[in-house]
């Protein structure tokens, strides 16, 4: 791996010849790896631009292109999702696949490209997976209930800067799913923890705190994600630097909610008081 800063300024002329082992799978079918050769990949290209080149080559050969998810290509939408040489989002920590550039690979290298692997993320085709389980978790409680037009004046509630900053740290999650893909248990605790931390520490998030926590954890479990066993792989692969702290706080809030629920005569925390 070459550190970017060690590169000369005009490395545009340098190109790589690569062998790519890419997972191919049709919806509902069994998958397998296929090998491709790709020549003259500029080191200035992004990983997804390299995949574009490969797809153009496949079109010229009259073959079906490799489906992969991508959209903003600037590391914020969270749509891109490839496991590259065993690492979700590839070898450079803190970047998404779309921001990964080919100067980080060697000439002649064989690169293995796989989809996110987890039971909760079934493969749709090739490298594209279905991450709607994440949306379901948010739908269960990843919000603050406020009807349009019913909001009070914004500055009526003071939020200390450290609290706002902490909420923002958690809110930076882009929902890409690299935490699940990197977790040896296929657990979504980093994703859920990030959202819980964002909302549960803000004053606006307090009324629904217990209900939110219990509902989101239940939905997470039902979606078939695994359990956290504190490996820390999610933190090490998160492109946005979300840390295990959010999981610790999720655990704490869950425990708190269960205890409150247990001692409440009506079990209202769980049912949301409805």
């Amino acid at each position: 791996m070459v550190k970017p800063s060690e590169q000369s300024s005009h490395d545009s002329e340098r190109t790589l010849a690569l062998r790519l082992r890419v997972w191919r799978q049709l919806r509902g079918g069994e998958g397998h790896f296929e090998e491709y050769s790709l020549a003259a990949v500029p080191v200035s290209a992004s990983f997804l631009e390299m995949m574009d080149m490969l797809n153009e080559q496949l079109i010229r050969e009259g073959k079906d292109t490799i489906a992969f998810d991508h959209d903003c290509r600037e590391g914020i939408c969270g749509m891109c999702s490839m496991t590259i040489n065993g690492m979700p989002h590839g070898p450079i920590p803190g970047v998404t696949t779309c921001q990964l550039h080919m100067r980080n690979f060697r000439d002649g290298e064989t690169i293995t490209v796989e989809p996110w692997r987890a039971r909760a993320f079934p493969v749709l085709k090739d490298l594209a997976v279905n991450r709607s389980a994440f949306d379901k978790v948010i739908q269960a409680g990843g919000f603050i209930t406020v009807r349009t037009g019913s909001a009070p004046e914004a500055n009526n509630t003071l939020i200390p800067k450290p609290i706002a900053d902490e909420a923002m740290d958690a809110a930076e999650c882009i929902g890409c799913g690299a935490c699940v893909a990197s977790c040896k248990n296929g657990s979504a605790m980093l994703f859920v923890g990030a959202k819980i931390n964002h909302l549960n520490i803000l004053p606006q998030g307090q009324p629904e705190r217990e209900r939110r926590t219990l509902a989101m954890v239940k939905t997470m479990d039902d979606a078939g994600f695994g359990n956290c066993t504190n490996y820390g792989e999610c933190q090490a692969h998160c492109p946005k630097g979300i840390t295990l702290d959010v999981i610790a706080k999720l655990n704490r809030d869950y425990l708190r909610a269960r205890v409150k629920d247990f001692f409440s005569s009506t079990g209202k925390a769980r049912k949301g008081g409805e």
Binding site: K184, G186, D221, F225, Y231, H237, L244
Partner: protein
Amino acid sequence: MSASSCYKNCQPASIGKKIIMALSGLVLAGFVFGHMIGNLTVFKGAAAINEYAEWLHAHPGLLWVARSVLIVSVIAHIWSGVLLTIENRIARAGGPAVEVTRQASLSSRTMPYSGVIILAFIVFHLLHFTFRKIALGGQEFGADVYKMIIAGFSQPAVALFYIASMILLCLHLSHGISSVFQTLGLRNQRWRGRLDVVATAYGWVIALGFISIPLAVLLGQLK
């Protein structure tokens, strides 16, 4: 309610199982410390440890309360561990063809294995020193615990099995203790490093404390 939906609805949520795992682990980790301190009286001579054993047996109420807590903890620990491990295997769906580890420690990745071996060790240990059914050459020791220990560890294979198991226990504890704090929500980035050191140190203290006895027997220091 069908059997499968009961499986889903009748067991605690993922974090609930983790909390059961953590709390039962905490009890067991505390127990091994007490057990180790008690065992170390062996270095004060036969009289000391025999007296300690006698004191324990003179308080059967206390002993059985402790034993009950331990049995419940062990069952809870195993039950949650087995469920978590099975669910996690399923959730991983085989994992990627190329497996890379960036952060997960050896101890964290081997928890189920070290756990199973430690369980096997516990069974052996109970049969060995509590029920006195195996690996003691059929001798009777009565109240002379000291003599039983010397006899038990005088067989190198048995002593080495104890030593190896304690190293695995150290491994298990060095991830487990720090995880207890994480699971109970009492850990953060600032404290993670420190807690990891504490956990590893605790694991080694326990392991070395226990290992010192068979080692001393093997080296002829205890006779």
